[in-house]
Symmetry: C2
């Protein structure tokens, strides 16, 4: 864990908040310096990038909470300067919709679009309390019986900077891949938090859904599983405390797979659901 | 079933193809007359509208098959004239990405945006044959033991024009709602085809994922369940013959629910997966 963990960080004053902060240069134009601190293997984590886009949209739209956000990943982002452009698509009473693009510049100064997003925002605090969720929280052993990167030689090749910023403890029964014997089941379960102790909010949930090792590892595949598209539904403002996350894959075929994530908070609420389409090398 | 069913229609020459055909007026600008034939209750079916947008994007992009398409529904579409505007976002070797908007005009001739879409297209015929799907097809009784609108007094209030164009046979075990005793389970299963016998293709799959009665009916809720966002993954070109579709809801809470659809073809391939976020009146 990073030194920041020695001091409990709070929502609005944490590594994650600083590294996802966008600066409005003009209406609908935001500057951001993409941090190298959220990279894994050779990639900037797609959930971190989605949180950056999500924060720019929250500044642009009349509503502040992402209810559903759909991102299509176009080219690989790199740490360093980037620009977010946003557009207000529609303003409604309870929901507003916006669009955003993350842009970087190549050696010749040409604009390269990294990610394009459509999102509908609302106010989570305005939702009725009615809960009829039939899904059950994932069965994960207690935190102290789960394992993180610090407990083993880094199972992931290349950069693992992001692991210093996460409290990620994997269910041993989904850790076979790290020990050379993947289960063959397309499932990964973990306890999740931010290393500096910052509690979860809707923006860190956008990071959480893409923060576990890919299910492809437990399916016996290795290497990068680049996201083509990722859609996240934020259904409830998460309660303080660690989150439980399960990701599952049921359709590995034709060089692609889906990854469904469920994020549960300490109050046993299913606070986020996501699905992504990703490429695999078969 | 409509009279068209007396003659087996083919892909490219069917009611569905005619009603989703867009006419290019200029590069990236398409005219379409939204058919009243695909309405249910008071709404134009969201899957039919997605197919219209999908066909315009197929004309705009260098690749012809939707791999993943994300639609945010802004305002309720009406039968009649509409315009689709498309933009090419990025061209890649195996995938290209585009954006599209469906527009109609109000009494004062003002443009009103109905739906905005982001999509990544490819070529399904270029995908490797490798299939490691762990999901299983839904257990649905044989077609002749399932029931459609023709077998009962229309269970859905208001318009049911779309039912004339579909071969939709529901699993009796998910029909409790139609008999006044909903199961309480958020699941709906059915055999699906087009009434005129046209086989499925990637565009009719965009219709299929949104064509069953809402799971909310089996959860004891009634009335319209408007879609906020719908994302569809097309994973394989469907084999000829009827499709089996299951839709499930696991998180009805706070006035919203998710609806996950799986579409299986006659060759037992999971050809499409979708998830939508919809509003419910609790």
């Amino acid at each position: 864990m990073s030194e920041a963990a020695l001091v409990q960080a709070t929502i609005g004053d944490s590594e994650f908040d600083r590294d996802t902060a966008v600066t409005r240069r003009a209406p609908g134009v935001y500057d951001i310096d993409l941090s190298a601190g959220w990279t894994i293997i050779n990639a900037v984590n797609g959930g971190y990038l989605l949180a950056v886009l999500g924060r720019a949209l929250a500044d642009t739209l009349p509503h502040g909470d992402p209810f559903t956000i759909s991102a299509h990943y176009l080219t690989a982002s790199e740490p360093g300067p980037a620009v977010v452009r946003t557009d207000l698509v529609r303003t409604g009473r309870t929901l507003s919709t916006g669009q955003a693009s993350l842009l970087q510049y190549d050696d010749q100064g040409r604009e390269v679009e990294r990610i394009r997003v459509l999102a509908s925002y609302g106010d989570l605090d305005e939702l009725p309390d009615d809960v009829r969720t039939s899904a059950k929280p994932p069965a994960i052993p207690p935190l102290d019986q789960c394992f993180g990167p610090a407990d083993a030689p880094a199972p992931v090749p290349g950069s693992s900077a992001i692991t210093d910023r996460l409290m990620l403890k994997l269910d041993p029964s989904t850790l076979g891949w790290a020990l050379g014997s993947p289960s063959g089941k397309g499932e990964m379960r973990a306890w999740f938090g931010l290393a500096d102790g910052r509690d979860a909010d809707p923006f860190s949930l956008l990071l959480a859904v893409d923060a576990l090792p890919p299910t492809a590892f437990e399916l016996g595949l290795s290497g990068w599983v680049p996201t083509v598209e990722l859609t996240v539904h934020i259904r409830c403002r998460p309660a303080p405390g660690p989150l439980r996350i399960s990701i599952t894959t049921r359709n590995l075929a034709g060089g692609f797979l889906e990854e469904d994530a469920e994020v549960w908070d300490s109050a046993d609420r299913l606070v986020a659901q996501s699905r992504q389409l990703a490429r695999v090398r078969l």
